[in-house]
Amino acid sequence: MSESTTYTGFWQESPRPGILGWLLSTDHKRIGIMYLCCITTMFIVGACLGLALRLELIAPGVTVMTPQTYNATFTVHGIIMIFMFLIPSIPAAFGNLLLPIQIGARDVSFPKLNLISWYCYVIGAILAMFAIFGGGGAPDTGWTFYVPFSTQTSTNVSLVAFAAFMLGFSSILTGINFVTTVHRLRCKGLTWGRLPLFVWTLYATAWVQVLATPMIGITLVLIILERTFGAGLFDAARGGDPILFQHLFWIYSHPAVYIMILPGMGVISEVIPTFARKPLFGYWAMALSSLAIAFAGSLVWGHHMYASGMSDFAILIFSFLTFIVAIPSAIKVFNWVSTLYKGSIELAPPMLFALAFIFNFAIGGLGGLALGAAASDIHLHDTTFVVGHFHYVMFGGGGFALFAALHYWLPKFTGRMYRHKPAVISWALLFVGFNITYMAMQAVGIMGMPRRYYDYLPQFHTLNLISTIGSWILAVGLIIMFVNLWQGARKGRPVGKNPWGAATLEWTIPSPPPIENFGAEDPVVTKGPYEFKGVVADEY
């Protein structure tokens, strides 16, 4: 592809010139890139807050911030990372970039709705920023907004709740779009049995987005109404029930965990066959386990509430169901490992991140079993073990999957390859830093250190210090990775259609893809997504 040095695909072609060509574009790739810019910004902000939290915990007592600042910081860190980074990260950014191409469509079913969804996201993010920096002070409730505190605190809870409502709306619109697109716009020959796994996971995720997100919408609206009218909906003295708030909240927020991790699993299922040069082991088991995770994920929200005063019978049921979710998750892990077995493995940067994902996710998942068992959860509840656990799944899983996706697909969309050596160095730093930070956090949690405190007893000092040092390694890794990716996108070596030798549809069109993806003729699919016979990687 010698002409690819001047060819810039969808970056150049647009009915409108300049910035308006982006802000008013209904092209799924442009919207995906806009999402990617937003979530990266949000991730950097959230990561800085996280580093600040770790810095505060470097030694007992007040070190860099007051207790109130600490409360606000962990709340904002949570809200940004969950609502503005993890939930839209892979589904909205990479889903938009790839879903239509992988099913051989020219765009999603509702391109205008897609743009509206991006604007909902931006409005939500801006409102949240106002809430954080505006008068009244940043919310200090934790991202869970538990009553009664959230209805009483004088901080900007109403505004941030409304912001989260808007972000939820954005997520719903994306979900509606993706479900419809997968049903209606698959190209000729692309049967359900030939869908790439990434599409399967996005599809399952989209159903969760559609069916669970409204619940957080109504819950947040009730918080706002409660703060405005003081009706006492969740006030036991006035006929309410504070535990019902937790039910409503987790009915969404537990499935939301799967919005964050499922598409990440899809990314890993794309990366691993490509770099093992082997078809994915157990295609249907992988596809159906995605749906099973989405379904079972809606049955287990109560495991966040063992210590809330919920009935013992409910604890028993929820605990049992929680173990069931482990089955489809384990199917996925075993199938990835089986795909690697006797494969011709190439340790390219995306593959390294995918392998790190499996490692981290396995630790996080097993820790989840310790928390899912009611007996051990009573001891571990609200300790930093929980914090370490969900960072293993969300950051070590969802975050590393996003990094894998960035290294895997950015060359496709920028048409340029980043340098591999810095990528590997950043991977090593991230992997090591990550495990030091959160393993220490888990260990100190088992010793009994509660979460959400700016201070701790002297016996927890060593592990907290180790954890903070780990967070610095992590930060260095992140900086190297982002700088390397940015430089690669700007002036890396041009790549051809298929630098990795992958077999899904996006690798059959030029890099970066042209507007409307496929030329005059719609593609026709005649083989599965992981049949590598005859697929040759382009030199770069």
């Binding site: 049903h183 209606r184 716009l185 159903w207 069916l211 619940m215 029930d241 535990i243 019902l244 039910h247 009915i251 809606s298 049955l299 929200w301 109560g302 005063g309 919920m310 009935s311 013992d312 019978f313 409910a314 049921i317 929820f318």
Partner: protein, 94 residues
């Protein structure tokens, strides 16, 4: 992608459904004036379910839509049952 268009539903059908809905409304009001204990709520919910099926299948053309639409509705109802039922597992046994 097959584009399937609906045959227009005759006015007569809709008006008959409307009469049925009004009749069911009368029934639900009448029954609610009779003391049946906790059964009252279940009768009310039963009639409401019947009414909503009429609205769904006729007014909303679900009868004419493909299987996908019905499957979607089924998924929704299952999820709803889970959300409500599992909450009651807590509140009933507290």
């Amino acid at each position: 992608m097959s584009e399937h268009k609906h045959e227009p539903v005759p006015y007569r059908t809709f008006i008959l459904i409307w009469i049925a809905l009004l009749a069911l409304t009368a029934i639900t009001i009448a029954v609610s004036r009779v003391h049946l204990g906790p059964l009252n709520v279940w009768v009310a919910l039963g009639v409401a379910t019947l009414k909503s099926s009429l609205v769904l299948f006729f007014f909303m053309h679900l009868k004419q839509e493909t299987r996908l639409f019905r499957l979607g509705l089924l998924v929704l109802l299952v999820i709803l049952a889970i959300f409500i039922g599992m909450t009651f597992i807590d509140t009933l046994y507290r």
